[in-house]
């Protein structure tokens, strides 16, 4: 009886040792891949940082208004953030390639999905960045035009333009990465519609006098001439 137990135990230990001996090289491969991946990712980070500094990416990001958002969220600079992102994506990619070598059933499919997802994530980030750039440019243009036209609420107009574009850009980015597509679409529709309705009501109730002034200025010249002031000619 005792001999049987010892024999079974020995067999189990031998199988475990065989299994471990079979797995050990794969674990070493994972570790080597992780190490090589770290070196490659680090090099990619250094090279990318050099390129971004060369093209003054931080300035571009500042112009886009992205830097201000990052500062408010206590995040590092846009260059630093992008470098870190590339570093982690590259390193994670190498680690996952190594893990693939372990031959765990079902994991390979998930890893393939992850690699297929990466381009979409990158496109979504690009949409976000250029969307922010466009939102900042157009909201500033609206603000300047409103101030120079003596519009009563220039900042409201500017913020509205910015909000509309950011909502639009966010919905595009979410759609690109495939996160809750239907929900985002419905949410975008509701938010955009509500915003437009709100603006229409606000303009209708608050802009009555403005519209009256505009129409009088545009079409009521004859009447206005009586107490007319001289216009200042800059040139």
């Amino acid at each position: 009886m005792w001999e049987m137990i010892v024999s079974e135990l020995t067999q189990a230990m031998q199988e475990l040792a065989r299994g471990f001996a079979h797995l050990l090289p794969r674990i070493i491969v994972v570790m080597i891949m992780a190490l090589v991946g770290w070196v490659v990712a680090y090099l990619a980070k250094v090279i990318l940082r050099g390129i971004l500094r060369l093209i003054k990416f931080d300035k571009l990001s500042e112009n886009a208004g992205a830097s201000q958002l990052l500062t408010k969220a206590a995040l590092p600079s846009a260059t630093d953030l992008l470098c870190r992102f590339v570093f982690w994506i590259a390193w994670l990619g190498f680690i996952l390639l190594g893990v693939q070598a372990l031959g765990i059933v079902g994991l390979q499919e998930q890893i393939a999905k992850f690699f297929l997802f990466l381009p979409r994530l990158f496109v979504a980030l690009l949409i976000m960045f250029f969307g922010l750039l466009l939102a900042t440019f157009l909201s500033r243009a609206a603000l300047l035009a409103a101030v120079n036209a003596n519009f009563p609420a220039p900042r409201l107009l500017s913020v509205s333009v910015r909000t509309i574009i950011i909502i639009f850009v966010l919905s595009m980015a979410f759609e690109e990465v495939g996160v809750a597509e239907q929900t985002v679409l419905v949410a975008f529709g509701v938010a955009f519609g509500a915003l437009m309705l709100g603006l229409a009501i606000a303009f209708g109730t608050g802009g009555k006098e403005l519209a009256q002034q505009f129409l009088e200025k545009r079409f009521g010249r004859g009447r206005k001439d009586e107490g007319k002031e001289d216009e200042l000619s800059p040139l």
């Binding site: 500033r140 603000l143 101030v147 120079n148 216009e231 000619s233 800059p234 040139l235």
Partner: protein, 422 residues
């Protein structure tokens, strides 16, 4: 002859039929039926009076008029001018009109006139605004004679103006052009001027025509190109310049055409202006500038309000353009009462120079930088109007001169910030 492809075949055919000319007068138009008849008649009379022996042509570059302006130009018979002036031309005088585009663009209009002048090998050319209703025949002589006698390459006008007319000229364009380039040119942005064929060809050949920004302020750029090229520039007093309401309609557009062109010119000409100090007068025929004092009613309150609103609303924009000390000072004066409000010459010069440096560094869109200057200019305009409210012509001139000297005194500040911190 590189410009042949730019001109229409019909226009080229008409130019070829004219042959070579000595004098060319260009008139850019767009819906000017009210004034163009008398302008063309005056030009014809001026040519008959002062250049009867010279071959001359009038070129109308039209920006898509729908009121028959080009037909009026072409139909203006020389006989009418001959009868009214009782003078007869010894050579032919042709009037040609071409439509350069379906909408007006001052740069393209000037380019058309320059191309025509080059093709016709004109010795002296003048450009006349179709809105100059006070124009007399003497204007042509005053503008064209220095060029035709080969003593000048560019003749710019000086006028008798109302003291508050051309306030952008007196408070920014004249003082800054003078301080930067060292020449006392009273009207760097001129709608009436004359130039030699040599200068016209040089300006035509430059590549700036391909840039949208360069198209806008071509008259200003023409003056700046003449300065940068070392051409001989002089001024001629023309007479009264009446206030044209259309120019006052859009301050931002006026600033784009003039201030934008001036800031833009600083970059390629840095080596020229960075070494100059002080300023020199240029040869001037007649008065350098006259101010008239008729009472006018201007809404100064609105100017100050728009300044204050601009400073408050555009704080985020100004943070990218101005130094913290300048912005803080602007915010301080924006909160002052109307009676104690003063946008001092020193602060104004500092503001303008910081805007010029920001434009050079493109800290934000260059067009946005120019637009952001407009509300601040309104504040300066308010102070200028207040300072000269009851002033005599001499007082106004003294104030303008003081501002010019301030621009000259602070030029080292512009140099300091030009290549300073990004």
């Amino acid at each position: 002859m590189a410009e042949e492809s730019f001109l229409t075949d019909d226009f080229l055919g008409q130019l070829i039929s004219v042959g070579e000319v000595d004098i060319l007068v260009g008139v850019p138009t767009h819906n000017n039926t009210k004034t163009i008849g008398s302008i063309i008649e005056t030009i014809q009379a001026g040519i008959l009076t002062f250049f009867p022996r010279e071959r001359a042509a009038i070129i109308n570059a039209d920006g898509g008029s729908r009121d028959g302006t080009p037909q009026l130009v072409v139909g203006a018979a020389i006989g009418d001018a001959q009868r009214s002036s009782k003078l007869y031309a010894l050579r032919t005088l042709r009037s040609i009109s071409t439509q350069y585009a379906s909408s007006p663009a001052s740069g393209t209009a000037l380019r058309t006139i320059l191309a025509a002048a080059e093709l016709l090998r004109a010795k002296a050319c003048a450009v006349i605004s179709p809105e100059s209703t006070q124009m007399t025949t003497d204007w042509l002589a005053a503008l064209l004679r220095p060029v035709y006698s080969e003593t000048s390459d560019l003749v710019l006008p000086t006028y008798s103006r109302h003291r508050f007319d051309g306030i952008l000229l007196t408070n920014l364009l004249y003082p800054m052009t003078r301080a930067v380039y060292g020449l006392r040119i009273r009207e760097p942005y001129a709608l009436e001027f004359a130039f030699s064929g040599r200068l016209g060809s040089q300006f035509l050949a430059q590549n700036a025509w391909h840039e949208e920004t360069a198209r806008a302020g071509s008259e200003m750029q023409f003056t700046l190109a003449a300065i940068a090229g070392g051409y001989r520039i002089c001024q001629s007093f023309l007479g009264t310049k009446q206030h044209v309401e259309r120019h006052s309609a859009d301050l931002v557009q006026a600033m784009r055409q003039t201030v934008g062109a001036l800031f833009f010119s600083l970059e390629p000409n840095f080596s020229l202006w960075s070494t100059k100090a002080g300023s020199q007068p240029i040869p001037t025929t007649g008065a350098e500038q006259e101010f008239t004092l008729e009472p006018v009613r201007i809404n100064r309150k609105q100017l100050r309000e728009m300044f204050s609103t601009g400073v408050a609303e555009l704080e985020s924009v100004f943070q990218s353009i101005l130094s913290p000390s300048t912005l803080a000072e602007l915010q301080r004066i924006a909160g002052l009462e109307e009676t104690s409000f003063c946008y001092s010459a020193e602060l104004w010069v500092k503001t303008v120079y910081e805007f010029a440096a920001a434009y050079h560094k493109s800290v934000i869109s260059r067009d946005h930088i120019i637009q952001a200057l407009a509300p601040l200019f309104r504040g300066r305009a308010f102070t200028f109007l207040t300072e000269n409210h009851n002033g005599s012509a001499a007082n106004v001139e003294d104030n303008v001169e003081a501002l010019c000297l301030e621009f000259e005194r602070m030029k080292p500040y512009l140099l300091k910030i030009w290549n300073g911190r990004e």
